[in-house]
Amino acid sequence: MKYIDEFQDPELARRLLDDIHATVTRPWALMEVCGGQTHSIIRHGIDQLLPKEVELIHGPGCPVCVTPLEVIDKALEIASRPGVIFCSFGDMLRVPGTGRDLFQVRSEGGDVRVVYSPLDALRIAQQNPDREVVFFGIGFETTAPPNAMTVHQARRLGVTNFSMLVSHVRVPPAIEAIMSSPSCRVQGFLAAGHVCSVMGVGEYPELAERFRVPIVVTGFEPLDILEGVRRAVRQLERGEHTVDNAYARAVRPEGNPAARAMLEDVFEVTDRAWRGIGVIPDSGWRLAPKYRDHDAEHRFSVEGIQTREPAECRSGEVLQGLLKPHECEAFGTLCTPRNPLGATMVSSEGACAAYYLYRRLDITNAAREATPVV
């Protein structure tokens, strides 16, 4: 599809929806991998516009959500140390660790600072040579290259008081893990457009072939998502399973080679625990040995911190598409954005928070209608 001229053009939305309605003949379950897409889908009611046969399962593509509790606890421990300036993106502030979050560490006197870019954290380190400056480096393949470049620059400029707490995750191994699960219901994927703008699409044909699922690279705006769904449904109805790029205005097949080269230099692939899911082999990046001087886990000796997830939070099932947020007993009662049990309720890209923000009234009304009047 050439670029849509008017995003909010209802006529175009109708045409895409009509095509999906005309194409679909049986139930299909698609997973949107990216939390940004989940947010957009719920916010714009896209799932409610689709034919009832097309189900969207919300995947694990919110880096805030899948960061393991023990990594949050490591961050809280480092941020509480005297003399440390702890820098983070804003969306990690309220992710609960064991009993508290970064917001609370700051209120207790910790020097926690929100930065827009990891380079801002590096600049803070240059301006404060007598302090240890630590950046919380989480995210998928979109965020990893900026963080890699920042570590590279710290080394190049000799900023020895800068280190990074790294917990990066990679999408393709997560797709592999989801498809390998016996309870997997996913028949097609909407791949995350911005991840692919960095990584290209080279990792996906093998997955599409092995698991016989269409993988459609999809953008984030409502009509992009409709187009991604339309192409995935079309493939499923035809019995095809190829990699298709529905976000060509931002994604080239090779991605961004300079960014990929920097990832290779600064990071090495490692097994990574995903919150609520568990360890997925080769699904993460850590700093390569030659950059160990800038590894905050090593510098602050927090490698040994281990934390168990709270049993009552079912975010793991939500993240794998086995449970809809409002089907969890704690949703909206024990667990709200103000008092989140798990990270899917903290981040606006988490499926639970998206449902809470945009669906609470629908869910409440549905429950009321379902309750017999005594």
């Binding site: 849509i4 001229d5 008017e6 995003f7 909010q8 209802p10 939305a13 939390g35 940004g36 916010r43 009611g45 896209i46 409610q48 516009l49 880096p63 805030v64 993106f89 804003g90 969306d91 502030l93 309220r94 917001f103 929100v114 827009y116 870019s117 990891p118 380079l119 801002d120 989480i138 995210g139 998928f140 979109t142 965020t143 290259p145 900026p146 470049m149 620059q153 190049r156 911005h194 703008s197 984030f220 705006e221 409502p222 205005r249 931002a250 994604v251 080239r252 961004n256 300079a258 960014a259 920097m262 709200t336 954005p337 103000r338 008092n339 928070a353 809470y356 923000l357 945009y358 609470r360």
Partner: protein
């Protein structure tokens, strides 16, 4: 977290041996690293994520994306005060249900 916003390059300079640009995101101006798109020129648009230009974008696409983001408040989420937003977080249901109009239009 994974939001990447299109912006227009206003000017470019070398700083500490790094190619940096001033980029305009629909009125919000930020410093952006160009190391991953070294041949990006003044006047061009790129998708920017956490202060790094990651991929070129044509002007028309960029403008329309920015308009949509401004309309649904995503620019505020990306560039607003994170401490304020974290302090206010949890006010679920107080936000306008963006997209309702579109849903309504399509359902008609």
């Amino acid at each position: 977290m994974c939001l990447a916003v299109p912006g227009k390059v206003l000017d470019i300079e070398e700083r500490d041996g790094t190619r940096m640009a001033t980029v305009d995101f629909g009125g919000v101006v930020k410093e952006v690293c160009l190391e991953y798109l070294p041949d990006l020129q003044v006047g061009e648009y790129a998708i920017v994520h956490v202060g790094f230009a990651l991929q070129r974008l044509d002007e028309e696409s960029a403008k329309q994306t920015l308009e949509l983001f401004a309309e649904i408040g995503l620019l505020q989420e990306e560039f607003g005060d994170a401490w304020d937003m974290a302090a206010e977080a949890g006010g679920g249901g107080t936000l306008p249900l963006a997209g309702e109009d579109v849903v309504e239009e399509v359902r008609k």
